[in-house]
């Protein structure tokens, strides 16, 4: 099974639309995961029917027992995350800042601090139009998104291994959720856009991706919005030896598909759809599919 992640660096370049389009190319081929756990959108296009859900436990959070607390303030002094609030009612822990490290409990001379587990999100396994899809929802404000990505992938990989491609819709950025997404990947498709931010962010995500695989392909989405910028990106790719495998034109038909919660499918003749299809052919050949 080939593990393919679609990432971007910069947000909003079109990862999810392109991932959904890729998932329509071959029937019964895919195991899917949406690792953009902050804002999981792939399911909006693939009409998933939920078959299983499980809670995701984040880091335990500290709790101060007000009956034992003598207001000495040691917890606040040692906490490196500024998670101890002090108001006229006494000391309390800010759940949103607490990282569950345990230092406060260790230094408390009265043993007034204990830990409770908290549910930081939920993971879903669904049947979608393209194959089994694992995605998740993180409780807004919760941390541990890298961990959640890790769990999403593990649950997907624990499924029956007869799928040919494990297709992952990745998160923006280069931090822990992205790193978690790229671990164990065979090939990466980077979706960029013809803008100065797009090129800047492409360079950073490429640098990180190179730690995980040498099979890196790039596609420019909405390339005709600025052809001189497209040319610049194209030159950079060729300079650095990364294959630029497609240039997708801006296509209002694609926006229409998203608006109507439909993936861009291969039977469409719209220019955007055709360009994605051509890109997919190149991509699949390069990773050894078909």
């Amino acid at each position: 099974m080939i593990r393919l992640a679609v990432v971007s660096g910069k947000g909003g370049t079109g990862k999810t639309v392109i991932t959904s389009a890729l998932s329509q190319m071959l029937p019964n081929y895919y195991l899917l995961a949406d690792c953009d756990v902050d804002a999981a959108n792939l399911g909006l296009l693939l009409a998933p029917k939920r078959i299983h859900r499980e809670p995701f436990h984040g880091m335990n959070t500290a709790v101060i027992d007000p009956d034992l607390c003598t207001l000495c303030g040691k917890c606040s002094e040692f906490c490196r995350f500024r998670a101890v609030d002090h108001n006229k009612e006494g000391f309390s822990i800010s759940n949103i800042r607490c990282e569950g490290c345990g230092v406060c409990a260790f230094v408390c001379p009265e043993g007034a601090i204990s830990f409770t587990s908290r549910i930081a999100g939920e993971i879903f396994l669904s049947d979608s139009t393209a194959g089994p899809l694992v995605d998740a929802m993180l409780v807004p404000g919760a941390g541990n998104s890298g961990l959640l990505v890790h769990e999403v992938k593990k649950i997907a990989l624990a499924q029956d291994r007869k799928w040919n491609i494990f297709l992952v819709d990745g998160p923006p950025g280069i931090g822990c959720p992205l790193i978690s997404t790229l671990t164990g990947v065979d090939a990466v498709l980077i979706v960029t856009e013809p803008s100065i931010s797009g090129l800047h962010d492409l360079k950073r995500v490429v640098k990180v991706a190179m730690n995980y695989t040498t099979q890196i392909s790039i596609v420019i989405n909405r390339y005709d919005i600025d052809e001189s910028m497209t040319e610049l990106i194209s030159e950079w790719c060729s300079d650095k030896g990364f294959p630029l495998i497609g240039k997708i034109p801006f296509d209002p038909w694609i926006i229409d598909s998203v608006r109507n919660c439909r993936p861009v499918t291969r039977i469409d003749t719209a220019p955007g759809a055709r360009a994605i299809q051509e890109m997919a052919d190149v991509l699949y050949r390069s990773v050894g599919v078909k």
Partner: protein, 113 residues
């Protein structure tokens, strides 16, 4: 030689668990006597760093051989450093069957994922 097998249940008839860090149970078997004990994995529901913590746990139990399915990067590094041999049991089914495969030398070595 002490063997550890990740398990979905507390008996030798239980299916082998694919995951290491989040396995519900660890079954420790003394290869000479065949005696075993099943211990609930204290880290199964943990949030992070579960792999290395589970690795530390079985190291503290003087294990020489681990039979599991998937062992992630960090846990693998710890287990390798501790000199624990890792085998994978995808086709074995039950803990008992996996032990038999180990005895018969037909278990695969666990590879980096």
């Amino acid at each position: 030689m002490r063997i550890c097998i990740t398990s979905q249940g507390e008996t030798l008839e239980a299916p082998v668990e694919e995951r290491f860090g989040r396995a519900p149970y660890f079954i420790f078997v003394e290869s000479e006597t065949g005696s075993f004990e099943a211990i609930e994995n204290p880290f199964a529901r943990g949030a992070g760093g579960v792999g290395p913590k589970a690795a530390q746990f079985i190291i503290n139990h003087n294990v020489g051989i681990l039979i599991s399915g998937m062992v992630g990067g960090n846990a693998r590094e710890v287990l390798e450093a501790a000199g624990i041999a890792m085998f994978t049991s995808r086709s074995a089914g039950t803990v008992k069957a996996a032990l038999e495969q180990l005895k018969g030398n037909i278990l695969e070595r666990s590879e980096q994922q």
